[in-house]
Symmetry: C2
Subunit: 366 residues, 2 copies
Amino acid sequence: MMKRIFIELQERSYFVYIAHGILKDTKFRWKLKKGDVAVLITDIQVAPLYLKRICNTLNSFGVITDRLVLPVGEQSKSLSVLDQIFTKLLNKNYDRNIVLIALGGGVIGDLTGFAAATYHRGIRLIQVPTTLLAQVDASVGGKTGINHVLGKNMIGAFYQPVEVIIDLDCLFTLSMKEFSAGLAEVIKYAVAFDASFFNWLENNLDDLLKFHPQSLMYCVYRCCKLKASIVSLDEREIQIGKRSLLNLGHTYGHAIESYFSYTGWSHGEAISVGIVMAVNAALHLQKFLSTRDAMRIKLLLERAHLPVHGPQEMQSKDYLRYMARDKKSRLGKINLVLPVSIGRARVFLNIDQNVILNSIEYNLIK
Amino acid sequence: MMKRIFIELQERSYFVYIAHGILKDTKFRWKLKKGDVAVLITDIQVAPLYLKRICNTLNSFGVITDRLVLPVGEQSKSLSVLDQIFTKLLNKNYDRNIVLIALGGGVIGDLTGFAAATYHRGIRLIQVPTTLLAQVDASVGGKTGINHVLGKNMIGAFYQPVEVIIDLDCLFTLSMKEFSAGLAEVIKYAVAFDASFFNWLENNLDDLLKFHPQSLMYCVYRCCKLKASIVSLDEREIQIGKRSLLNLGHTYGHAIESYFSYTGWSHGEAISVGIVMAVNAALHLQKFLSTRDAMRIKLLLERAHLPVHGPQEMQSKDYLRYMARDKKSRLGKINLVLPVSIGRARVFLNIDQNVILNSIEYNLIK
Ligand SMILES: NC(=O)c1ccc[n+]([C@@H]2O[C@H](COP(=O)([O-])OP(=O)(O)OC[C@H]3O[C@@H](n4cnc5c(N)ncnc54)[C@H](O)[C@@H]3O)[C@@H](O)[C@H]2O)c1
Ligand SMILES: NC(=O)c1ccc[n+]([C@@H]2O[C@H](COP(=O)([O-])OP(=O)(O)OC[C@H]3O[C@@H](n4cnc5c(N)ncnc54)[C@H](O)[C@@H]3O)[C@@H](O)[C@H]2O)c1
Ligand SMILES: [Zn+2]
Ligand SMILES: [Zn+2]
């Protein structure tokens, strides 16, 4: 069974295809034609698992494939690795008619997406996300970019792929830790936008953790569907509106990631703690989130094997330092996305520093 | 007197304003409001001439200004200088609400434009071109980018400014050599698109070379108007169509620039030789350009103090090596824009290598 989601963005519209085994399906029609040159960009962990499979399939309908295998990890989202990609492409004399295929997690997706956005001022891009996080979030919506020593995702572009191919079979080789990291974003969607999906997660989390095929399909489909509707409303995140709500937990989370220079804590783990801190802030501000809903959120994260306490090394002031630098902040004032009930979130502007300190400190006590 | 041109690009539409003295005109309304933070990016040659003037004006209506002064020259269009800009902006904690102002020639315009396209995935950009070349060409149309060791303008983005402010007074401080370089692009427009403008140039070139104010206004206005209509038709240069015709002379020209690693020959000088070589190729292909028109083009370039012979160091095979790498080429086949009469040009696909060799060699004989 295959599912298809249309991302409506005028002349930049495209489809997301979701299926088990789609990468080895020689009957599935990619948006590529005979004679096209596709350069697969992936990392050393994903390459041995899926590179051959996808090349065989593409070659079987006459697509010429080339590849670039990069090191694993967030450090690859840098200007210097980006330059490596350009050097490879220019050495081969590739013109603007080639297609880049991002085969991997969010790191490969963001980096390859940005390379596609800027090589010859923009070439075609296909996202083939292989982590849960990338399947439900990073690969859809056109955010691409790299990090700077002074901040995460500070350099990038909004650049839409021509299609997104999601093979749910790829999830089977993920470590439990990586799978859980993806669940952090899944739970984020449910908390911010969709109460009935949150209920579904409460009832089906155990099946998901056992990689039950139908549950995986439903979960990934539902998240992509949510992302699709949000992205269509606000492609470039211009309004402080619905699209910003995707950042629930991220202002806190980025502080954790930055503190460890993106090496200690994974994005998903950091976001999980961030969601809990956002829940705390919502509780502190009162009149919004109920304690019961707060408990349900925290419990679901725990059941997904996600951390709900911040790293012991970090003090609340460490968070503040990084949070003031966040994209959603302005002139040192901190804005946050907070849940107001399960399935609903809002942007709160210029939040009192004490509320933020409390939301963090409350969480440091184990 | 001020002239205004509308660049029609749906939600990315903007105005180009052209006037003498517009940078010190405190009555002119910029697309900036009180409290906005504008970071001016310029080079060490332009800074002492115009930076104070423009800051005073902007400060007079409450805009907060900051500045970054970069080295002069094509070498600044690099990943490492781009990184310098990001570092400066991030060190100041600037968010996506700031505006970048590119104050300078095409180098500053292309580099600053690309920085604006990619900082926080895109911030506002105002182009303030100060060379003739940048006023008639580089600042309008949204092409931004940097060079790679392996090729010129290989990395970049299509990114439109929110406005372009052209102060014709800036041209008075240009060296004659730089002014002539701009005339190469002016003559390119006339040859490729506009026979009556070509006639006007034949009649008014001497006034232009004396910086006659009305002539400058007419010349810059006419070129921007031509560029505007072309850009509106094909924002991202997707078709091999009208917009590609802007590349008349550029495939040869880029070969010259690359050969000297962008340090020996200026863009305008290289393009001038490129136009003559394109004229030669058109003559060789026969049935198109008349010998008389060919002579008129060459003569006008010479009157503008532009070179019409290629550099002595370069042999025809040196050209070919770089030309095969050009954006308009595909799979080693060379495509060229050639004039078919004064005011009309066409793209010719997959040109015979001998025609190209002849068009170059014919030109090496002084
Ligand atoms: N663009 C967006 O909208 C967006 C959204 C969310 C996150 N992100 C970005 O995504 C990144 C995190 O992505 P991620 O969590 O996928 O990390 P990742 O890309 O680093 O992948 C995690 C690890 O899993 C490995 N891996 C990938 N697929 C595998 C598979 N099928 N089997 C076994 N191992 C596999 C990778 O090699 C890597 O070691 C961050 O940089 C974050 O900023 C982007
Ligand atoms: N984006 C586009 O569409 C486009 C089109 C054409 C050219 N370009 C690019 O433009 C660049 C060339 O631009 P350029 O010719 O303006 O070169 P440039 O920017 O290097 O400027 C030439 C010199 O003139 C100086 N200068 C600038 N304004 C001055 C003034 N008013 N008075 C005195 N000196 C002044 C500069 O400091 C520099 O030394 C190339 O990199 C080319 O690729 C881009
Ligand atoms: Zn995320
Ligand atoms: Zn040019």
